[in-house]
């Protein structure tokens, strides 16, 4: 069962595209029409690079690499997902930077510099784990992810 079949509630509405068959998603942030910088999450009034105010919603690159990561060994208050879990800072191929969970393999097995792709995954949002919500994260990029990326050139990333 895919994450998207488990729940249709999205943790941050509008933050990513509807999941594909493999739970693959594209994050949706903003792009500055003046300097071209992309960033996540959206909802800002000025560009984080040049302070330009002419911003548009933009789908971000699916692939990126892990810039830094850590392993959380205990659950912070209000978090009901599995522990330990990995949190990473990912720099996407279009320059946007995202801090979120790294999923799809053992938390202890991550390395800086690994190639990753964006995916939806489900996390519970109540202590009894009755209710879950679709979240965004990055998993190791599969050959399929890399092949898809080769078909879409960086220029076509713009929405």
């Amino acid at each position: 069962m895919t994450a998207a079949e488990k729940t249709s509630t999205v943790v941050m509405p509008g933050a990513f595209t509807p999941p594909g068959e493999r739970d693959d998603i594209r994050l949706v942030g903003q792009r500055c029409r003046k300097c071209g910088a992309r960033f996540f999450p959206g909802g800002r009034v000025s560009c984080t690079a040049c302070y330009g105010a002419d911003l548009e919603p933009a789908q971000l690159a699916r692939l990126g690499k892990v810039d830094a990561f850590t392993i959380a060994r205990q659950a912070p208050r209000g978090y009901y997902g599995p522990v330990p879990f990995a949190v990473g800072s990912v720099v996407l191929d279009d320059g946007a930077s995202v801090i979120c969970q790294l999923i799809g393999k053992e938390a202890q097995a991550w390395q800086c510099g690994e190639r990753v792709a964006s995916y939806a995954f489900a996390l519970p949002r109540d202590p009894e784990k009755r209710d879950s919500v679709l979240c965004y994260g990055f998993a190791p990029a599969t050959p399929e992810d890399l092949a898809e990326q080769n078909q879409s050139t960086p220029a076509s990333i713009e929405s």
Binding site: F39, F40, T70, R73, P76, R77, G78, V87, S97, I99
Partner: protein, 373 residues
């Protein structure tokens, strides 16, 4: 323009006080500071109250506890940087000529467990992204990857600060720990183990600040001068991909420039070791060593008392304790104690210029102090 001077200071023991209200803890520190300055509460022209989670108008509640006065009260919330921020605001008011003598107190009675910054149900909470000390863990892991910094080097910061705290009568954990104990304590968020996290603490610290005119009239030979201060906030942590202490570097550089001083002029430093990683990387952000050499500094014991530039002679947040609003005031008070030459067994020899660096989410306040000739 007048200078601002610290003419009195008081700190309670940092501990857990289940049976005392925060007002009583804060009032104790203020009374000690007033006695140290040899002035009365009635002479204080404004009271700055630094705290983070002590409820509405905590400063007014504290002021009444100290004594009837009706003086102006300003509450300062700036997360864990509240204390130094309040002293900065107080010193600016004196420099501007608005007041001749003011009091600043930082105080906190903390809830148990890790500090919750975002409410339950916030997307960041649901996704586990509010886990502490994630921000410093990412910094530490990146530092290890880029510069080869080791787990042992981070652990040594905790060993040093616990060792320093043995000689600080107000410290919460004045006992030695070994590098093995620190490294093998429970892992919280890699590379940070539980003995590399500052504790939850209750406590208060207070200082009395005055102008040139008041100092001349009052004549306190132990006065310490606030030479310069700078306050910065985070530009945009996520989008700029900053796993560094850029906010501290910027604040330090601004303060150095205003004071006409540089890192080479410092004799003693108190920095915000909320976690070991934040102290080791602060060596670089404050310019005490080049980028990537923080690990070498701790290996060579340069930041121990007796080393080239002692850092956190008080024991720091790790061992003195970290009552959020009190921390920045306690840091500056420790520098003042050191510059007065009154630190006893933890005294840094010939300390004339000191720096305190107080960080919160997501601000940093750096203060430079000296002993006027």
């Amino acid at each position: 323009m007048s200078n601002a001077y610290i003419i009195g200071l008081g700190i309670t023991r940092f501990d857990r006080y289940p049976d005392r209200g925060v007002e009583s803890i804060a009032a104790e520190a203020i009374q000690k500071a007033l006695a140290d300055a040899a002035i009365g509460w009635g002479e204080v022209q404004q009271f700055y109250a630094a705290h983070v989670k002590q409820g509405v108008a905590a400063g007014q509640r504290v002021a009444k506890q100290v004594g009837p006065s009706g003086l102006p009260v300003l509450n300062v919330e700036n997360c864990a940087a509240a204390g130094a921020t309040a002293i900065r605001e107080a010193s600016l008011a004196i420099r501007a000529g608005e007041y001749d003598v003011v009091a600043v107190a930082g105080f906190e009675k903390m809830d148990p467990g890790l500090l919750a910054v975002y409410p339950d149900g916030d997307p960041r909470t649901v996704m586990g992204l509010t886990v502490l000390p994630m921000r410093f863990s990412l910094m530490g892991m990146k530092h290890m990857h880029e510069y080869g910094t080791t787990l042992e080097q981070f652990a040594q910061v905790s060993v040093k600060n616990h060792d320093h705290a043995i000689h600080n009568p107000i410290a919460q954990f004045p006992k030695a720990v070994s590098v093995e104990q620190v490294m093998h304590s429970r892992m919280i968020c890699d590379p940070i183990t539980v003995l590399q996290c500052s504790p939850t603490s209750d406590g208060a610290a207070a200082v009395i600040l005055c102008s040139d005119a008041f100092l001349k009239k009052h004549g306190r030979s132990r006065a310490v001068r606030v030479v310069a201060s700078a306050l910065t906030s985070d530009i945009d942590e996520q989008t700029r991909n900053m796993h560094t202490l850029e906010i501290m570097e910027r604040a330090a550089n601004e303060a150095y420039e205003r004071a006409g001083l540089g890192p080479g002029d410092l004799d003693v430093v108190e920095t915000h070791d909320c976690f070991t990683v934040s102290e080791l990387i602060a060596y670089e952000a404050l310019g005490l060593c080049p980028k990537g050499e923080g690990g070498r500094m701790i290996d060579e014991r340069q930041t121990w008392i007796g080393g080239k530039i002692p850092v956190n002679p008080s024991g720091g947040l790790l061992a003195r304790g970290h009552p959020l609003g009190a921390t920045g005031v306690a840091q500056i008070a420790e520098i003042a104690i050191q510059l007065r030459g009154e630190a006893g067994p933890r005294q840094v020899e010939n300390a004339r210029v000191g720096l305190a660096s107080n960080t919160g989410m997501w601000s940093c306040c750096v203060t430079l102090l000296d002993r006027p000739h």
